[in-house]
Amino acid sequence: MNKKIYLLVLIFSISITAQQAPASKQSKSILILNGTAHLGNGKVIENSAIGFKDGKLTLVADATTIRLQNGAYDITIDAKGKQVYPGFIAPNSTLGLVEIDAVKSSDDESEIGNMNPHVRSLIAYNAESKVIETVRPNGILIAQITPRGGRISGTSSVVQLDAWNWQDAVMKENDGIHLNFPVTFNQSGWWAEPGGITLNKDYAKQVDEIKTFLSDSKAYLGAASKDRNLIFESVKGLFDGSQTLFIHADNELQIVDAINLAKSNGVNKIVIVGGFEAYKVADILKENNVGVLLRRVHDMPEYDDQDVNLPYKMAKILTDKGIIVGLENSGAMERMNTRNLPFLAGTCAAYGLDKEQALQLITSNTAKLLGIDNLCGTLEEGKDATLFISEGDALDMRTNLIYNAFIQGRKLNLETHQTKLNAIYKEKYNQK
């Protein structure tokens, strides 16, 4: 009888809530003790004491060397044998912009038109997306919500992934503008009669259009104009350094052209997104202080004669060259795949990086590239208490088992509609 009621309650709760209720503000201070802390900056504290109050980290220390007053923290979590990590960051993400890929009415990721810097992802971000709750249990706690399509897709914002609505979610509003750099080759024909992939004859023209757009915007912003131009105004941050230009480009020529174009038009904060051939122009990237959000590394080589494991090795190659590298995960089924972000980093560790370096690819490096490293990306005193505890190595599938996660000190409910369905059906079949 009891069981039946329990079952009913569960079903009921599913049907009324789109997602788990966001956690409320941190009211009690918390100390995580004795866990192995991976700080996200390459350092590890084997036996750590991590404390946070009012949403901010107040203590990141070696538990064996510091002394804490009794009662300094309201709650102490013993994490002995466990691993503590800063929350992972998913850049260039469309979480919350699309619910189900094939259902057009649930799709808000791409606006029509070519130059759309004024289009803002933030206001379409559905904080209640059912996909979002499934990524948190794997450690992804922060995302850069990015529009797609067009030459300039629009303006992204960085959010934390446990909120009632986009306003509550925002960490950095309008952090960057996204430019899809013209491709050097394009496919002709249509799907039923595909042509070859041939040189993009309009490449130079398309590059010039961007140049014109930037110089027009700059000219407009330089003098008071009677006629307001929302589009030009929306890129102001690119010139005053308050916004980053995220240039989506894979090919080496694109990357070189893109950097030259941006720099020569007064845009200095640049990040390359994709960067499949960034390794070929690493020196130029380094010279210009341009970081790379490397495209999904669980990918095939582009050409038949490339190293079959090249995508897995790229982060290592770029890191060794002194480039700041983060990992992004756009592509097929990208939203649901967000939860595999840690394993992208794990693969980079399998192919050359050490594990702490690999961790940086989804924590501190990404935070730097998104300009949110003052808030998150590492476990450092003063930063947001956005972190989690895992049973084991969070970059490995077998041990990425997260049982405590916090965003700005708020303890998350890691249940999802999926865990609930799991519970219901395990119950149905009397499985443990």
């Binding site: 094939a102 041939t198 020529l253 095939m300 050409y303 693969t347 077998r398 999926q418």
Partner: protein
């Protein structure tokens, strides 16, 4: 009948008296001409190997009447002295579209497809166009004929290359005489087929290569059935097929693997097609040879890519670079392997390329005699016309070339191309050589004149006595010389004109007209012979040709790897047997099998591999893969396509095979896509990198077929304008199944009844229906279903339908809501091949959860994790690890999700899926726990053959980089030499998924 006119007029004046003798003539009086023409003193190639050094060819009425060293020349003969010249049979191109109408493109609406034909009286499929006869729309194309004639061709086969069955082709003589009524030598000589849809039809089926192959099979079966008088309705297409059975059957394949496919298909029906290939036969020459097929081969060698821009050049596929380098050797390789083939001009951008490319092939080792045969005797024999064409034996058509020398010599000039006794002048044979040094006198002025350059187009250099240069221009046409030169005393534009008719004299003299119109005479006395400028006769150096690899793409092997005896020492062995995961264990691999498992094993012949600290597992098996498939994973043209099979279209030359091996995958089921409820049959393959497609097929493989449910089959995501095919709902899907199973049952019963009846009472045999036959195999439990499925309702539905028809579904693949009906699946006895964590990509996977696999497993259902994705397939070990993460399964059980369990689902576990003595040595050596994200494959072994080795891989990469660099260098050189180049292009990454519709 013919008369000969002075050469001067031949091109302009065409005798109008060549009509057949029983034709009325209202243009003149009848004029019979039985005169002979004798070509004397020529080197005559009667055939490429039967040569008369100095002989006479005698022709009359367009035929050879005599040929030999001594021929009596009749009195009524015109004699042409060809001293020093050669005569060859004119070339034959049996594969052209000369003079035929190009098929009209159908009004293609992108919005909707036609499924069922509206044609009346023809075959049910509009891509079967066997009733088409090229001669019916034939119209002689003088201009095109001239192109062929200039290239040396005298006869062409001509057909309409459109559709799967394309109808008949005609044999046309390129007789440019307007009045000749004998141009059509044969109106129906060939019967054509091809792997191409008709552009004239919108009918959706066949949308894939495998569909075309199945269609050809069914077409022949229907032909046979029709022949026996079984059909009620008239079928013009089948009647044409029957009528044309004895013609020369030509199948257009345009690719080496397609050639193997067509040859195999032909053999099923006792046919030996002549295959029109693609120029890449050399890449699989052993298989091409053993197909025993004869070929028509194009020589459209790729142009070098313009690699001067390194950014663009880097985008070129290595295989494209290699193809450029190796393609010119194709003819040599074919010829060296004793393959009979004719050459064609098909696919050439321009006719001039024919000679250029043929000479190139010869330069790359193709034998000249073979070349001549491939253009004369071979096509003649292939067409069954050896008595009439391709040689100059008595009785053959007077189709011949007059050349200045050896026909495939670069310097040789082709003078004339005679077809059926009609002359076509390519270069004026009568052109006199006036080259040399002269003293030129005009009136009283003297000049030094040098005539040099080509005989037919000499150039002129004139200097006055004081050595000042005088501008001049010399032209020779039809034996008339005209020379224009600037008046020597004038700086103005004043020109003098000199003319003369060339005769036997060495001194030239004639009329001079000065700039002011005064006429006088001029003369030029030869003072010295022409001395050719000693231009270093550049011997074209051949590019270094890279060796063929198997497959002939990056990471192929020049030598196919062989079976080894291997002894792994001290490995952690994941047995997948009751022994579980055992430490410090030796495994001996011998004769392709696991020979022993234990400690302290030894074998004198074994290569010992120190596997301490490493993990040895059985190879990964992917139950659901779509890689290595040629031209279409879906036959979406019908809602049931049980007649198609992936076995027909395995592509052995897909780079993804190597990548699979690098991920530890040894066996995959290549499934048809999910565009229709009843899809095609599967191919189960082992990834024997380098082997030919048929060698990759798993031996004696269990028969499987793909079924599908849900959004894909009801075309939910095809856009709003496309839903025209039944079913459009899950309700309809059930009806499709029930209908087909019922029909298959009836079909099977009718055959059983027929087979059981005694010979005397035998009624007419039922029609063989490959589709129903296949479905009947399911009912008879001889074929297993792997069904693409998502939501619980449809899962239950299919199980119910199956139970009604008294069989069981073997596997639900994808099955993301399987966890909701795990108990019912267990009861039915079906297995699950699912994804570890996919969801949210379609509405029907909204309730998909990563706990699906574990719940099903714990409920007693056999569970595997599959990829459906080329990329994920090489990380299936990581996917298996997710069963540990989400389901808290033991590592041992999780590992079975990608090895033993799929082996069981595929009924292969007697041979693969675990490390057990006697089983196939399909094993993988890992540097780490295979479920770890940090694991890398060191060796992948199939049946004792090492197909992937991480150390060798590194060496291969170095090799590949070196070769790429070499090829880029060769191409730069090509560009430097001024050869034409093509723009770089990228090769499309072909990755099929279930719902990929394109080819």
């Amino acid at each position: 009948m013919k008369r000969f006119f002075p050469f001067l007029f031949l091109l302009i004046f065409v005798p109008k008296i060549k009509a057949q003798e029983y034709f009325p003539n209202n243009e003149s009086v009848q004029s019979k001409n039985n005169n002979y023409t004798a070509f004397t003193n020529a080197k005559i190639y009667i055939t490429p190997t039967q040569i008369i050094e100095k002989g006479t060819l005698l022709i009359q009425n367009g035929k050879v009447v005599s040929v030999g060293a001594t021929v009596t020349i009749p009195k009524n003969a015109t004699t042409v002295n060809l001293d020093g010249k050669s005569i060859y049979p004119s070339f034959i191109d049996m594969y052209t579209n000369f003079g035929v109408e190009k098929p009209q493109k159908s009004e293609r609406s992108r919005l909707s497809q036609t499924y069922d034909t509206k044609r009346q009286g023809y075959y049910w499929n509009e891509h079967i166009r066997s009733e088409v006869n090229s001669y019916e729309s034939f119209s002689y194309d003088n201009k095109k004929a001239e192109e062929f004639l200039k290239a040396g061709f005298g006869m062409v086969g001509s057909h309409i290359a459109d559709g799967v069955a394309q109808g008949t082709g005609a044999l046309i003589a390129l007789n440019n005489d307007d009045t000749a009524n004998k141009k059509v030598v044969s109106n129906q000589i060939t019967n054509h087929f091809g792997f191409s849809r008709s552009v004239a039809s919108n009918q959706a089926y066949p949308s894939s290569l495998m569909g075309m192959i199945a269609l050809v099979r069914q077409m022949y079966l229907d032909m046979d059935w029709y022949k026996k008088g079984n059909a009620i309705a008239k079928d013009i297409s089948l009647e044409a097929l029957i009528k044309n059975e004895n013609l020369v059957q030509i199948f257009t394949t345009e690719d080496k693997l397609n050639s193997l496919r067509a040859a195999k298909l032909g053999k099923e029906f006792g046919l030996n097609y002549i295959l029109k290939g693609g120029g890449n036969e050399f890449e699989r020459i052993a298989e091409i040879k053993s197909s025993n097929a004869k070929f028509i081969i194009p020589i459209d060698f790729p142009e070098a890519y313009d690699v001067s821009n390194p950014y663009q050049a880097s985008q070129l596929d290595f295989s494209d670079l290699r193809m450029w380098n190796q393609a010119p050797t194709n003819l040599k390789v074919l010829s060296d392997n004793g393959i009979v083939f004719a050459l064609t001009t098909d696919k050439l951008k321009k006719m001039e390329d024919f000679r250029t490319n043929l000479l190139k092939a010869i330069q790359y080792g193709f034998d000249k005699t073979k070349a001549l045969e491939a253009l004369t005797t071979v096509p003649a024999a292939l067409l069954g016309k050896s008595n009439e064409i391709g040689n100059l034996k008595v009785g053959a058509y007077a189709d011949f070339l007059i050349t200045s020398g050896e026909v495939f010599d670069k310097k040789t000039i082709l003078y004339e191309n005679w077809v059926q006794g009609t002359k076509y002048v390519v270069n004026d044979i009568t052109a006199k050589d006036i080259r040399g040094n002269y003293d030129l006198k005009i009136n009283n002025d003297s000049y030094k004149w040098v005539v040099k350059g080509e005989i037919s187009a000499p150039t002129s250099e004139i200097k006055a006595i004081d050595s000042t240069k005088v501008n001049s221009k010399l032209t020779i046409a039809n034996n008339w010389v005209s020379l224009i030169l600037k008046d020597k005393d004038s700086t103005a534009n004043k020109f003098n004109r000199l003319t003369t008719y060339l005769d036997a004299n060495t001194t030239l003299s004639g009329k001079a007209i000065s700039f002011d119109g005064k006429e006088s005479t001029w003369s030029a006395t030869k003072t010295g012979p022409f001395v050719a400028e000693k231009k270093e006769d550049k011997v074209e150096k051949n590019n270094l040709v890279l060796p063929i690899m198997y497959p002939n793409i990056a990471f192929g092997n020049t030598q196919k790897p062989t079976q080894q005896t291997l002894l792994f020492k001290n490995a952690t062995v994941w047995t997948n047997e009751k022994e579980g995961i055992v430490q410090q264990t030796d495994v001996l691999v011998k004769n392709g099998k696991i020979a022993a498992i234990g400690t302290n094993l030894s074998d004198a012949n074994a290569t010992v591999i120190d596997a301490k600290g490493k993990h040895l597992t059985s190879g990964i098996i992917d139950e659901h893969s779509h890689i290595a498939i040629s031209n279409g994973v879906n036959e979406s043209g019908h809602n049931s396509t049980a007649e198609v099979t992936i076995e027909d279209v395995v592509n052995s030359d897909d780079i993804n095979i190597y990548r699979e091996l690098a991920g530890g995958v040894t066996t995959s089921q290549l499934l048809h896509g999910s565009a229709n409820p009843i899809g095609g049959r599967s191919a189960i393959v082992k990834w024997k990198w380098g082997a030919a497609p048929d060698e990759m097929l798993y031996k004696d493989q269990p028969k499987f077929i793909k079924f599908a449910l849900g959004e894909n089959v009801k075309q939910s995501n095809w856009g709003n304008n496309n839903p025209t095919r039944f079913p459009q709902t899950r309700m309809g899907v059930e009806q499709v199944f029930t209908d087909y199973f019922q029909r298959a049952k009836d079909y099977d019963e009718s055959w059983k009844k027929y087979n059981a009846s005694s010979k005397k009472n035998k009624e007419k045999a039922p029609r063989v229906d490959l589709e129903l036959q296949t479905i009947a195999e399911i009912l008879n439990k001889e074929r297993f279903i792997s069904c693409h499925s998502y939501v619980q309702s449809e899962i239950l539905m299919l199980m119910n339908v199956a139970e009604k028809f008294n069989f069981r579904v073997n596997t639900f693949t994808h099955i993301l809501e399987g966890y909701k009906v795990a108990d019912k699946m267990k009861e039915h006895g079906v297995g699950a091949s699912t994804f570890a964590d996919w969801w949210a990509y379609k509405f029907e996977v909204n309730d998909a959860i990563p706990f699906n696999g574990p719940i099903l497993h714990n409920a007693g259902v056999l569970v595997a994790y599959n990829s459906d994705d080329a990329e994920m397939s090489r990380r299936l070990n990581q996917e298996a690890a997710k069963a540990v993460k989400y389901g808290n399964l033991s590592e041992e059980e999780a590992w079975k999700f990608v090895t033993l369990n799929p082996a069981k689902l595929l009924h292969l576990d007697d041979k693969v899926g675990s490390i057990k003595v006697g089983k196939d040595a399909d094993i993988v050596l890992w540097n780490n726990n295979p479920l770890s994200i940090y694991a890398q494959v060191e060796k992948t072994i199939i049946e004792g053959v090492v197909y992937y080795d991480s150390e060798k891989d590194a060496l291969k990469r170095t090799e590949v980089a070196k070769d790429r660099n070499l090829l880029i260098g060769q191409m730069l050189d090509e560009k430097n030499k001024g050869m034409s180049t093509q723009e770089p292009k990228k090769k499309a990454k072909k990755e099929y998924h279930c719902d990929t519709l394109e080819q």
